[in-house]
């Protein structure tokens, strides 16, 4: 019994971390625990949560996707640009482009064998280039007031942004736990050779997960475009991907792959969000935020190493 509790605690470290952060934040700022503030936190960070869901899939699969940030920005830009012609195009084009990017990432990583880091760094810069080529360094404004209402609106008391996050969490967790694809994802992430020997078509699984991740980035981009009813070229730059990665890694999904779930990711998203929120409330300079994120990531890596020293994180993956 004691062993089981120890094992559970070791995996679910995000729960005490989250609770601890809530306590610290309420001490640091009296405004923190108000309904208005908490609602605002969820509203501002749901899009990042959506991206984190996608990144979780790829990470359980044993890979990393750094292109989510700029892909999100690209989808926002595409949405705004094509909306001018036709509202439906403004949704279909980003979706199509993100599926293409996901397929490309998946193909290069699993079929060509290029490290996911290198592949997605290249895709990241390629997306960034396309953003600038399309928008010409200018912001693109939206055409439909209704779209902005949708992005900022509420349904049954919960903002539309949050609805998408919740929906993706539920659907995603169902995918991971109850479907064959989810099982195969864990298998490939755990030990790709064993999975192959077991008859799993590993490249198909990986490609699907990269597409899922890119689609999540697309949804996040459309959500953000709806919220601002505009897109700016610097959306998704310079280190949104780091923030999203921090959320997933902090939550407890292992960088080595094969372990993790969306509950962890939810915890990570909430924790990082309230850290950012309390720093805003305290009026901390905006450049302290990246320092805090970087330190969090490194601390999580160190703790991960101490807790699970035998785990080999394949760098070139």
């Amino acid at each position: 019994m004691k062993n089981k509790v120890k094992m559970l605690l070791r995996d679910y470290t995000i729960v005490p971390i989250f609770v601890g952060m809530v306590i610290i934040c309420s001490i640091l700022s009296p405004v923190f625990l108000t309904i208005g503030n908490l609602n605002n936190v969820l509203f501002q960070n749901s899009a990042f949560g959506v991206m984190a869901v996608g990144v979780t899939f790829v990470m359980i699969n044993g890979y990393r996707d750094l292109s989510v940030g700029t892909l999100m920005g690209l989808c926002a830009t595409l949405c705004m640009t094509f909306q001018k012609m036709n509202f439906l195009l403004g949704i279909l084009v980003p979706v199509a482009v993100s599926i293409l990017v996901g397929l490309l990432n998946g193909f290069l990583v699993s079929k060509v064998g290029i490290s996911s880091l290198i592949t997605t760094i290249s895709t990241m810069f390629a997306c960034r280039a396309v953003i600038y080529i399309i928008s010409g360094e200018a912001a693109v404004a939206g055409t439909y007031a209704g779209f902005e209402q949708f992005g900022n609106g509420e349904f049954l008391g919960i903002s539309t942004q949050l609805w998408f996050f919740i929906l993706l969490l539920v659907v995603g967790e169902f995918l991971l736990r109850k479907t064959m694809h989810g099982r195969k994802t864990y298998a490939v992430g755990g030990n790709i050779e064993a999975a192959k020997t077991g008859g799993i078509h590993t490249s198909k699984v990986s490609i699907i997960n990269f597409v899922i991740c890119s689609l999540c980035a697309c949804i996040a981009g459309i959500l953000l475009a709806a919220k601002m009813n505009a897109s700016i070229p610097t959306l998704g730059w310079p280190d949104i991907h780091m923030q999203v990665l921090a959320m997933v890694v902090l939550g407890g999904t292992s960088l080595a792959g094969g372990r993790g779930n969306l509950f962890f990711t939810l915890g990570g998203v909430l924790t990082i969000s309230i850290v950012q929120n309390v720093m805003d409330l305290m009026g901390v300079y905006s450049y302290i935020t990246p320092i805090v994120f970087g330190i969090i990531i490194i601390l999580v890596l160190i703790i991960d190493k101490k807790l699970k020293p035998a785990q080999v994180v394949n760098e070139l993956n």
Binding site: G113, S115, I118, T123, M242, P290, L316
Partner: protein, 321 residues
């Protein structure tokens, strides 16, 4: 039984394609713009590639060791800002010392985390990158200084002068290439570096202190960033907080183009030099052809993918796996 081994000797092409690539790139750009091959333009290119080149030397070592460093761009901004800020309040000499100390300190931290603690190089240096971005802004405190005046004159020599009409910084770069290639091929440390990158476990069993080797590789990288920062500070005489942004892609492209395998264990600083020249020509050529800077990101992304693909395909003998 007789065994006939018949294989076309294609290794010359494989090993030296980079030189052909440079010739092709120069040809394309000089066709696109008449003044590409002018003395003034060549001097400009040489001036511009020196910083990229020195940093590429350092990253070549890191990649040979089988590791990675994404924080070099942010480190450059940090060093540059430190140099100018310290030079503003004291003298350029103290600025230089501060820059060297700062760059090597960051290298030491990276080296400790990756080498001794065994953390993932990519993620760790990505974390350092975000930290450094924030720290750089912290150093300036929101103020953008620039240095000027007679006591600064000698400092300009690094970045703005010429020796026999070759930019000083380029001569420094050539010196770096020579020293690094020497270290790589002739010293014990160079051997250890290749061994660790090729197979860390077996190198440890051979008695090589792999953690220390990696640690020093990162300090060397920090030193390269510091020198590059000094040159840039000498050029601009102003604190540019986002100078290094995106530089990582340039450096990685140059090293990968130069044939250094991302799997570690092998590499060549001279071929990285050719990769650097290609990047420099591309950057310059794009501007001369009137294309905006972001087209280059697209070109570089494609180049990296293609070059790594070819490298992997030739190593395993199959195009796809």
């Amino acid at each position: 039984m007789e065994q006939k081994v018949f294989r076309k000797d294609t290794s010359f092409l494989k090993d030296n394609y980079i030189y052909f690539a440079l010739i092709v790139v120069v040809a394309i750009f000089s066709a696109a713009s008449g003044s590409f091959l002018s003395l003034a333009n060549i001097t400009t290119i040489l001036r511009q590639v020196s910083i990229l080149g020195i940093m590429s030397c350092g990253l070549t070592f890191i990649i040979i060791a089988g590791k990675f460093d994404v924080s070099i761009g942010a480190n450059l901004s940090f060093v540059l800002t430190t140099i100018i800020t310290v030079a503003y309040f004291t003298t350029p000499l103290y600025g230089m010392i501060a820059g060297l100390a700062g760059g090597m300190l960051i290298g030491a931290i990276n080296g400790y985390l990756v080498g001794y603690m065994g953390l993932s190089p990519m993620i760790t240096t990505m974390g350092m990158q975000t930290i450094l971005r924030g720290v750089t802004l912290l150093v300036t405190g929101g103020q953008f200084h620039n240095i000027e005046g007679p006591q600064v004159e000698w400092f300009k020599a690094f970045g703005q002068s010429e020796i026999a009409s070759i930019p000083t910084q380029f001569i420094m770069y050539i010196a770096f290439i020579a020293i690094f290639q020497l270290i790589l091929t002739k010293t014990l440390y160079g051997r250890r570096l290749s061994a660790v990158g090729g197979n860390p476990v077996s190198s440890r069993f051979s008695g090589i202190k792999d953690k220390r080797t990696v640690f020093f590789a990162y300090i060397i990288m920090g030193l390269c960033v510091a020198i590059a920062g000094i040159i840039q500070a000498s050029r601009s005489l102003a604190a540019q907080t986002n100078m290094g942004e995106g530089m990582e892609l340039d450096v990685i492209t140059a090293v990968v183009l130069g044939g250094t395998s991302l799997l570690g264990g092998e590499g060549n600083v001279v071929k990285t030099f050719v990769g650097v020249l290609i990047i420099g020509c591309m950057k310059n050529g794009f501007i001369m052809a009137g294309l905006p800077y972001y087209f280059q990101w697209l070109a570089q992304s494609v180049i990296i993918i293609v070059v790594v693909w070819v490298d992997l395909a030739t190593k395993r003998g199959k195009v796809l796996q």
